[in-house]
Amino acid sequence: MAALTRIDVHHHFVPPAYKAEMNKKRPMQPCMQTWTIQNSIDDMDKAGTQISLVSITLPGLYFGHVEEARKLSRLCNDYGMEMIRNHPGRFGLFAAIPWPDVEGSLKEVEYALDTLKADGICLYTSYGDRWLGHSDFNPLFEELNRRKAIAYVHPHAAACCENLIPEVNESIIEYGTDTTRAINSMIFTGASARYPNIQWIWSHAGGTMPFLIERMVNLAKIPQVAAKLPNRLMPELKRFYYDTAQASNGVALGALKAVAGASQIVFGTDYPYRLSIEHVEGLAGAGLSTEEMIGIDHRNALRLLPNLAKLIKA
């Protein structure tokens, strides 16, 4: 087995009790049905991944019922912690919260970070018609900011944009776009500057944000917009982290580097939707320098998660 040097920040787990609940609503996809802890570990071993920070993927936790969302979040987080305990050094957790239930989410943040010692919180790019910069999120962001927490953000197809093109799956365009919307929301509402201690990880190389950078630059030049950006645009974009899931290629990463810098790129795989080894192979062909590769493999992530340094023997 190859040396395990990678930290995967975008890796999904499927607690059996969660799967059972989801299957009652609409059967989960094949790769969700067949997920097991051992399959995750096998996939990680093949790709040289030491540790995966696991999170709950779509359809998420909230289906209009606060009590259900609280229960699902708790059972997922407890299951994640059991995985961590049973497989030391292989898993970390970005905990689920029952947002938009504010009270339940704040309680779950406390439970996850204080009791379970989770590594961060998993958010989605939008909830209904609210993207992450919306003032609804202020109480949550106050708390995450106070705790200097990691906020890992996973996309989905926003409510506006389901089933737009008959021939094209939503994941092709809409997931990336929703990440871009959430980043723009964080920046241009001023939330990113107002909560400077939250450490953001955006999925999929920032969605499509790096490609639309000229639009953002131009928007930020408008005086009344600039007034809301005390740190200016680029420093905010350059403090965020971006994972490589489904974007481990030179086309996207070249543009991302030009916007955010290679130091902000972290390894992510989207397992079990994609295999980790595909990302390793993609990165190898992406025109990255050795230093940049080491950064993406683990060094950049260790700035966010310094406690993991003892696990990486590179």
């Binding site: 737009l164 093109i165 094209v168 799956n169 509402t189 639309l212 030179g250 086309v251 996207a252 030009a258």
Partner: protein, 365 residues
């Protein structure tokens, strides 16, 4: 500055009739409405901008929100009036201006009439379409509803300039973030996906497309496109018998509002230089000369810039060629595709290849 030589394929004109229409009809339209760049546009300002930026010729088109505000009759009339106004601009200065004619879509029959009028009578240089239309729900250009239109454009081997609009799905999603920032680019990506994956791009191979803004966000999402194209093989082969990349690399892409080394580098990693065109989006943006400066910082060599600024567009619009142009050896389609955009950008990696895994079993729905 050198003698004007650039050809701007993305340049808007705003005849008075269109300004009036936006004020009277535009209130029904959610965005972007009657903005200062539209209100302040004049022929003289366009010419001044072109002179300042070394633009020899601009192919003008009507911008978003387009022609149709819910009334077919009004749309027919407005398209005709805009096209005649554009044709007068061209007649007055045939080497300075060309015209991408407007259509009263989604009214297909009226649009077929307008295509004939614009191309046969007015001798327009091409047709301007928008990325999506409201027609009993949102429809992108690959939708079967548009097949008769595309069939006619294909028969005529027409040059088709596809301008984004904020899709009906996605207007005013977030206060303070104009639709132009994210939604325009995304809608371009959607209509490219609709044309390619829906099969219309391959079925109508003679339409010569220009997509705005470096393809919206398509280049950045290329991995998703490639992976998706590797899924249902039978369906994909039927829709794209020549493969997805054949279609993507035959389209043309302008650089309006995307002249950043990262974006241009990503575009160039998948699209041959021969397909990349100079465009300004005037009167939007910060002026035509500003766009020239921005493109100059994107790592093109002098020879590459000459292709982007002029010779690539001349292959689509030969009537703007001068004697000097004709004395030069015609460039081959793929002649300049050698180097990466900038030394700092990733070397040309080409397009990611789909891995062997069964995508259908793993893709999120």
């Amino acid at each position: 500055m050198a003698a004007p030589h650039r050809i701007d394929v993305h340049h808007h004109f705003v005849p008075q009739i269109y300004k009036d229409a936006l004020i009277t009809l535009g209130s029904a339209c959610p965005a972007p409405g009657y903005q200062a760049p539209i209100a302040n546009w004049s022929l003289e300002r366009s010419l001044d901008q072109m002179d300042e930026a070394g633009i020899a010729s601009a192919i003008v088109s009507v911008t978003t929100p387009g022609i149709h505000f819910g009334d077919d009759g009004a749309a027919r009339k407005l398209a005709r009036q805009c096209n005649e106004a554009g044709a007068r601009m061209v007649a007055d200065r045939p080497q300075r201006f060309g015209l991408f004619a407007a259509l009263p879509l989604p009214d297909i029959d009226a649009s077929l009439n307008e295509i004939a009028y614009a191309l046969d009578e007015l001798k327009a240089d091409g047709i301007g379409l928008y990325t999506s239309y409201e027609a009993g729900g949102v429809k992108f250009l690959g939708d079967p509803a548009f097949a008769p239109l595309l069939s006619e454009l294909d028969r005529r081997k027409a040059l088709v300039f596809v301008h984004p609009t904020s899709c009906v799905c996605c207007s005013d999603l977030q206060p303070g973030i104009a639709d132009a920032i994210i939604e325009y680019g995304t809608d371009t990506t959607r209509t490219i996906a609709s044309l390619v994956f829906g099969g219309a791009a391959a079925r109508f191979p003679h339409i010569r497309y220009i997509f705005c803004h470096a393809g919206g966000t398509m280049p950045y999402l290329i991995q998703r496109f490639v992976d998706f194209s590797g899924r249902d093989k039978a369906a994909m082969n039927a829709a794209m018998p020549n493969g997805m990349l054949h279609e993507l690399t035959r389209f043309h892409y302008d650089l309006a509002q995307t002249a950043h080394p990262g974006s241009v580098g990503a575009l160039r990693n998948i699209i041959p230089l021969s397909q990349i065109l100079f465009g300004t989006d005037y009167p939007y943006g910060f002026g035509c000369a500003d766009q020239v400066t921005r493109i100059a910082a994107c790592g093109f060599t002098a020879a590459e810039l000459a292709s982007v600024d002029r010779s690539n567009a001349l292959r689509l619009l030969p009537r703007f060629g001068t004697l000097e142009d004709r004395l030069q050896r015609p460039a081959r389609r793929d002649e300049h595709v050698v180097e990466p955009a900038t030394p700092s950008a990733a070397p040309a990696r080409g397009v990611p290849t789909p891995a062997a895994r069964d995508r259908a079993a793993t893709e999120k729905t």
